[in-house]
Every structure is written in structure tokens, then in C-alpha cells.
Amino acid sequence: MIASPLETFLVKPAALRVQSVLYGNSFASVERAVLSLGRAAELAFASGMVSCVELAYGDSSPTTCLTEAQLTHLRGLYPSGLTIQYDFFNGNLGSAGGHNRLAAAADADFILMQNPDVVVSPRLIETLLGAFAVPGVGMSEAKQLPIEHPKDYDPVTGETAWATTACAMIPLKLFRQLGGFDANTFFLYCDDVDFSWLVRLAGYKVIFQAAAVVFHDKRLSTEGRWQPTNSERYYSAEAALLLAHKWSRFDIVEKILSDFASHGDEFTSKATATFEQRRRDGTLPTPVDPDHKVGQFINGFYASHRYTL
């Protein structure tokens, strides 16, 4: 049955599947994450919000990230509160492809997508689920610390332009209804922006839950600046072009290409080449939202930002 924005997705207790895509993560960081997630699951059980919590790992690493012994250790941390699945992809599916593959095997009411090194606060699951008590909410997003994402949100309702899947919850029914992430277009970045906009295009709200807190181990340079990795620089440049194309902002595509040509670096040059190749090959995504009801491109961002990082 197709869901309707007039309904609420919340069911109590809900079956929850948490999924993360691994790529070369350290065992220590994964263990830290599981220790906190398991406690959040215990509390969510105790409050009657969830009936079961399953943690599914998809491993995109060249070789397995976790050994059998490590998996056994992780499963032993919360033997009755958290079941752990592990799927070695034997190939790098990226973020979108990895989550799609994991979600395909899911049997739950909600899926909580998060980075494998994210450390959740104890009441995270309850707080994210709580957002769905309001009819029409299709996605709820956690607040990341210590660096809070600068995108704006309504301080009264929590409504926001898009949700980052560093930690976000989606009803599985809606996820499938919308076809999951666009893995054909997006590899590492903007798959969540694109999906959020699809949620909104379908008439649902994306809610930023400031009280749902996760710790995401991001660091600043000694000058206080954001430090993107090389892959972040390349894939975010590529995704910017693809997102603008998909959301029918061809003017933005041309502007980005122009900016890359005049002020770019090796990463933007490579992104430009990839985009042009896809254009020649006819493999660019089919444009949506021709009337620009949802997609937002503001000063290089996909929402208005409260401040600059």
C-alpha cells in the first residue's frame, strides 16, 4: 500500500534496522559506535518504542574490515539487544549503492542510516522515531557534534531542506516507495540530498531533530577550517554537477562548469571530465522537478546556511 503524507509512519513498537557502509574503518571506531548504539537500543526497548534493533554492516572495503573474531566480539556486547549482520560486498558500491543493497534485505518499519563511526546519544532512537508522530514526516535527521551542520532549519518545526545520512531515519516503506538512493548517479556525496528532495517532492517533510544527537569524529585544521579529504573534494564536485542536472537547474550546471574551468583544481577538472563524458554517453540522470519546487541551490549549497564553516 502506498503511503500518504496525511498519515503518520510511527508504529509502536517499531522494528528498526540500523545500517552502515564500511570502508576501511578501524575496529576501534566501529566498536565505539556499537557500544553506544547498543545502549540506545536498550533504552528504546525499555521505553516501548522498538520491538527489535538489527545492525547491518555492508563492507565496501577491498578486504574485509572486520574479522570473524571481531564480529563475534561485537555481537557479544549486547547479545539480547542488538543483532548484527555483516555483508562483505566484494566491491566498492559507494554510499548510495551500499545502503540500497542493505535496505533490500531489510525487514523493518524504519531504517536508520548512519556512518559506521558515528557515536549515538543514548536517547537517539527514541528521539528520531518521535519525529514521525507528526503526520507527513518522511525523514528525520540527527544533529551532529561537535561540528553542527550549518544548513538552516525551522526552529519551531524542525523542517529542513535535506537530511544528511551521516545519521538519518526513514520509514522503510517510504524508502522503497521512492526507489531508494539514486546509486546510478551518486556514489559518495549528494545521494542524501537527492533522496531528501525526493521525499519532499512526494509531499513529505524532512525534519532536523536537534535533540537527537550523534558524535561524528570530524576535526578542524589548526586555523579552524574544515579539512576535506581528496575523495571528498572530488566526489562532492562531481555530485554538485549531477545534482544540479537531475534537479533541472541547467543554469547551475553551466555556472559550476564555468567556475571549475576558471578557478578549479585537479579534482574539479576530473569531475568536469566525468560529467562531460556522461553527457556524451547519455548516462546523465533524467531531470526532475522542472518547476524547481524542491531543489535549492544557494551559494553553492543545497539549503540556506546559518553560517559558514
Binding site: 545502549r39 533504552l43 557515536v119 543514548p122 561537535p146 526552529p155 535533540a211 579552524g224
Partner: protein, 615 residues
């Protein structure tokens, strides 16, 4: 030597301010008085306390010693005396039982005797057994070898016995407050009161002309201030303690050294329980630390029941590994500075850091401190904090925080002692203090300060141990918008008062060891004092000289006399060139002005200037 023989050198008279007077005052204070009961003075020597004691307490004085000279003196004054050798516990006990002979005993003194024995604990145990049988007090006095004068001498390699005094050449055991307490605990004697003899200048303050002993020297002030941080016995000449017999503690008469392994970092977090949302946030940041070698002391201030429950719930919610590292310590008295002292006192870590319940930290916060500690052991460890403004939001029945600004970086990457003398550039969570500052140097937070207490503590300690800096940004100091914080709770006047108090304290402190390089920096600063003023004066003098030269060149008489200079040039003379005036020094300009005024042109123009001058 197991026996004690005292000679005439020990015939010290009774005085209210010496050890006899202090001992008697203690006995009087505790109403040691029982008609017909004995007072047994072990190691009595000449027993100069006997007469005042009998007069004050009405007891029967019995003097016991090995030395016949003292006993003869006492006997000659009409007191009962017995020869007593202080050897092993059992023989002492039996000998004393024989001396007492069934009579009631009210009190026992052993003054300036134990330190002469090979095994003073054996004597203590015997005294305890006798005292226990009679419910008697035992008064003990020993010299204090932690008097600061011995420390001053030892620091400079001087250690000398004297005929009598703190380091009497016949002493076998050297006592301090802790040595005495340990031995008493081992012997089953429990201190009920103390009346130590204080003496600022002891018999060990020699040579008197040593700079360490001369009261006017900086060295004396520094050493004295350092000793004061150790314990309260730096000026104590003799430890005088009144004890009662009680249970024997299962401890040796000496300290058994145990270097227990300590966790790395104790995190002291003050809270009023009013910000459970921010407390939950910072605890989540701690759950994400890459190095988990820490404990968390949440110091709750005047928590009412709902707020206490709120804090306890946050702790209970934590994953087990973090919950086990977290303790709630409740404090119902004092101001917010008191919480730091309580938290630091309870801390078990090698380093202690303050983390407010509304701050956040990055994943390498503890890790960066830990790395610094290996490169600069014992120093204060400093990282850097960014600043971000926040405000409270509430929706979907949940209260939380919303960042309102980007991350500012107003604090310098490296610690600068001089700059910190003017203002604090190091928020609390960027400083990890080595535990020894609080636990061994007894440097605590000044509870008279209601704000800036962390700055004050940094100034009081940084000079002693130094500060090791890492430029990494490891925390975010969150500045509130539209909500209560220490910046709003305390008035401007209160902040200013505390600010000036901190500066006054550091200005008067003798406990500052200036970092290497200080003299050079001071010299440069002194050299630069007055430089701007001198440069302005030089500039003004030059401008005045230029103005004078310019006035001459621009004067109408100078222009009217141009033909004279033309003739001069035709005759081969070289009059000054006005165009080069700007390149001349001040002195050269003065010389030029003089030359111009004495020139033929200017002298010819003088008549014209007189004519033109209004009358």
C-alpha cells in the same frame, strides 16, 4: 642504642611556650585530673614539668628514666622516681606495671624521648597497653624534622647534627607528622588533640648569613612559599600530641610505598542540573573519544531532587563502559569555585581538566592531551578551543541547542605566559593540570573568586610547572545567546572585582618561576618603552627645521633677491638647492637654515622686511 641516657645538656626548664608548657596545656584542656592517680613521665630526664603539672592537675608525679642524673634531681625535689630501660615492648610493659603497682594512672607523657630509641614503636605499644588498662591519656612529643630550615639546608647539600635540637646527634629516628601518625596508628594510639610548638627560626637555621635564611631575600621568600604549599608543619619545631589507647591498625610503623597505576585524565564537570540537554551532548562527545583513558566527575551544585534525578538519569543512560567511569559528586555548600576544589580532590587521574556541561569536545581531545603528556611530563597541557554561539530551541516536545554562528578561533595556538598576565586566553577545557599541583603542592582554587577562578589557577601554577602547547583545536567553547550563563549571572562589577583580585594576587606572589627567555623578552620590552615618543619628538624637530628652511625659500624677499643669486652662480658660487631639503637630516636642515640666514640674499632682504613690517 636501645637505652636512653641523658646528660645535663637536656636540663631544660619549664616555660609556657616550650614543649613542657604545651604538653601541660593539652592535659589541662582535656581535664586530666583524678585525685591520687599517677602521672607517669617516661624518659623524664630532669622532669622540669613535674612541679607545674602537680600544681595544675593534682596528680602524683612518677619519673622514669635510665639516666641517674635526672632521676637524682627529681628525687631531690621530692618526687618518686624509677630507673627504666626502654628496650623491647614486653620488658617495658612489665617494668611499667611494676612501677604503677596497681595504682590508678591518669596520664603518661613521653617527651623528647622516642627519637632517641632504636624501636620507638615498641615503646609506644607498651605505653598503649598500660594506658588501655587505666583508660589513661598518652602525651607524646617528638622533634619535627620537616621543619623548613632543614629543607632549606638540605637543598644546598647541608645536613648536620648538633649537640641538641631537631637533629640531636643521638637521635635514631627522624619524625615528621606523617611518620608519627603512621607509628601511632601501628601502635594503637589515636590522636585526640595537638598543641605543636611553632618556631619560625629553629636551631637548624644556620649559617645565619646563608641567603636561604635571610628574611629579606627572594630566595627565602620563594623557598618559604614552596614549603608552605607542602603541609602545615613547615614552622613546627616539636610535634605535641595527646592520644588515647584504641584499636591497633594493621599497618607497619613505616609507609609501604605503592605507586598505584593511575588513569590518565580526570574530567571535572560542574553542573546545576538545569541543562540536562547540554550535559547529554557533552557526554556523547566523551563517548566518542579516541582515547578512553579517563574518568568523569560530575560535580552537582546544590541539586534539588528533580535536578539530581535528571543528572542521575543522564548517567544511567550512558553505555556501561562510560557509566562506570562517571561519578556524581554532590556539593551543597559554597560557590561554583568550591565545586572545582571538590572535583580536583576526588580526581584519580594523573591530569585533571575542567569541562563545562555546555561545552563540546572533538574526538581527539583526550588523545591530544595524552600525546602532550609524553613530551612534557608534569607540565600543564594546553590545546586550543574554537568558539561558537548557541541558543536553545524547542520543538516536538524536545529541548535542544542550535548553533548560531560559525566557528571562531580567537585563542592563540601557543601559550604565552606574558599575554595571560593581562587576560585569559585559555578556556578551562583546554588545560589539563598535573594532579601534583593540587594533591602535592596543595594549590587549590581560590573560593573567594566567583568568576575567573580558572584564570587565577592557571597563573598560580603555570610559573611553577610550565605549559606545553599543542595547536590542535580540540574543543568548542559555546557562547549562549538569550540564556543564562556565567557571563550573565555575575554582574560587571563582580567580574571586574575578580579580575583585579587575580591580578593583585599574581603581583604579590612569591611562587612564580619565570620561564626561560623571560629576561630577554623583558629587555626587549624595556628597550621599546618610549620609542614611539622619541620618534614623534624627532619627527616634530625635523618638521620644524624643514618649516624654517621652507619659510625662507617661500619668502617674498628671497624671491626678490633671486637676481643676486643669479649673479653669484654666474660668478661660480653654488647657492643651496631647495629641492634637496627633504633629503637632509634635522641637523643638516638647521645648518642650511643658518647658512641661508647668513647669505647675501637674506641680508639684502633684511631691509625690505623691515620696510614691509607693519608699524
Amino acid at each position: 642504642m636501645s637505652t636512653l641516657q641523658k646528660g645535663a645538656a637536656y636540663d631544660n626548664g619549664f616555660a609556657p611556650d616550650n614543649v613542657y608548657g604545651h604538653a601541660l596545656e593539652l592535659l589541662q584542656r582535656h581535664r586530666v585530673r583524678a585525685e591520687g592517680a599517677l602521672h607517669v613521665d617516661v624518659g623524664c630526664g630532669f622532669g622540669r614539668i613535674a612541679e607545674p603539672l602537680v600544681a595544675a592537675l593534682g596528680l602524683t608525679y612518677v619519673g622514669c628514666d635510665l639516666d641517674a642524673v635526672g632521676l637524682n634531681s627529681l628525687a631531690g625535689r621530692g618526687f618518686e622516681t624509677h630507673r627504666l630501660e626502654l628496650a623491647d615492648e614486653e620488658s617495658i610493659y612489665q617494668a611499667l606495671r611494676a612501677i604503677v603497682a596497681g595504682r590508678p594512672v591518669a596520664s603518661i607523657t613521653i617527651i623528647d624521648t622516642l627519637e632517641h630509641l632504636d624501636d620507638p614503636a615498641a615503646t609506644m605499644r607498651a605505653l598503649r597497653r598500660i594506658a588501655a588498662e587505666h583508660c589513661a591519656f598518652v602525651l607524646i612529643s617528638v622533634p619535627n624534622t620537616t621543619h623548613r630550615d632543614l629543607g632549606f639546608r638540605l637543598l644546598f647539600g647541608q645536613w648536620d647534627y648538633t649537640e641538641t635540637g631537631i637533629l640531636d646527634h643521638t637521635h635514631r629516628v627522624l619524625f615528621s607528622d606523617t611518620v608519627l601518625r603512621q607509628m601511632l596508628a601501628h601502635s594503637g594510639l589515636h590522636v585526640v588533640a595537638a598543641n605543636d610548638v611553632e618556631m619560625t627560626i629553629s636551631d637548624q637555621a644556620f649559617p645565619a648569613d646563608h641567603p636561604a635564611f635571610q628574611a629579606g631575600t627572594n630566595l627565602h621568600a620563594l623557598l618559604g612559599a614552596l614549603r608552605n604549599q607542602g603541609d602545615a608543619f613547615g614552622r613546627t619545631n616539636q610535634l605535641v600530641r595527646l592520644c588515647t589507647p584504641g584499636p591497633v591498625e594493621a599497618v607497619q610503623p613505616y609507609v609501604e610505598r605503592v605507586d598505584e597505576p593511575r588513569l590518565f585524565l580526570s574530567i571535572v564537570m560542574r553542573t546545576q542540573g538545569k541543562r540536562s540537554d547540554t550535559l547529554a551532548e557533552v557526554m556523547t562527545c566523551l563517548a566518542g573519544q579516541s582515547v578512553a583513558d579517563f574518568e568523569v566527575l560530575i560535580v552537582g551544585h546544590k541539586l534539588d531532587v528533580p535536578h539530581q534525578i535528571a543528572v542521575e538519569r543522564i548517567i544511567e543512560d550512558l553505555p556501561v563502559w562510560l557509566r562506570d567511569k562517571t561519578r556524581l559528586v554532590r556539593v551543597d555548600l559554597g560557590n561554583r569555585t568550591r565545586l572545582l576544589n571538590v572535583g580536583f580532590a576526588a580526581a584519580r587521574g594523573r591530569y585533571i581538566v575542567i569541562l563545562d556541561d555546555d561545552d563540546t569536545v572533538f574526538g581527539h581531545w583526550v588523545e591530544t592531551f595524552a600525546a602532550l603528556s609524553t613530551t612534557a611530563p608534569g607540565q600543564i597541557l594546553r590545546t586550543v578551543s574554537a568558539v561558537q554561539t548557541i541558543r536553545r530551541v524547542e520543538y516536538n516536545y524536545a529541548v535542544s541547542l542550535r548553533a548560531e554562528s560559525g566557528l571562531e578561533t580567537p585563542y592563540p595556538s601557543q601559550f604565552d605566559w606574558f599575554e595571560h598576565l593581562r587576560v585569559n586566553y585559555s578556556p578551562g577545557m583546554t588545560l589539563a593540570f598535573p594532579r601534583g599541583l593540587f594533591h602535592h603542592l596543595n594549590l587549590s582554587f581560590d573560593e573567594s573568586l566567583t568568576t575567573t577562578e580558572d584564570w587565577d589557577y592557571l597563573l598560580q601554577t603555570a610559573g611553577l610547572v610550565g605549559v606545553a602547547s599543542a595547536p590542535d583545536i580540540t574543543a568548542i567553547y559555546r557562547r549562549w545567546v538569550g540564556a543564562e550563563s556565567s557571563a550573565t549571572v555575575h554582574s560587571v562589577e563582580e567580574w571586574e572585582h575578580n579580575f583585579t583580585s587575580v591580578q593583585a594576587k599574581i603581583d604579590n606572589s612569591a611562587l612564580i618561576l619565570w620561564p626561560v627567555g623571560t629576561t630577554r623578552r623583558l629587555r626587549i620590552m624595556l628597550d621599546n618603552i618610549g620609542v614611539p615618543e622619541r620618534r614623534v619628538a624627532e619627527f616634530e624637530a625635523r618638521m620644524e627645521a624643514l618649516r624654517q628652511v621652507n619659510n625662507i625659500y617661500l619668502s617674498s624677499t628671497w624671491r626678490l633677491t633671486a637676481p643676486v643669486r643669479l649673479i653669484g652662480r654666474l660668478l661660480g658660487r653654488q647657492p643651496p638647492n631647495p629641492a634637496v631639503a627633504w633629503s637632509l637630516s634635522t641637523q643638516e636642515l638647521h645648518d642650511l637654515a643658518s647658512a641661508l640666514r647668513s647669505s647675501t640674499s637674506w641680508r639684502l632682504g633684511a631691509a625690505m622686511r623691515r620696510i614691509a613690517r607693519p608699524r
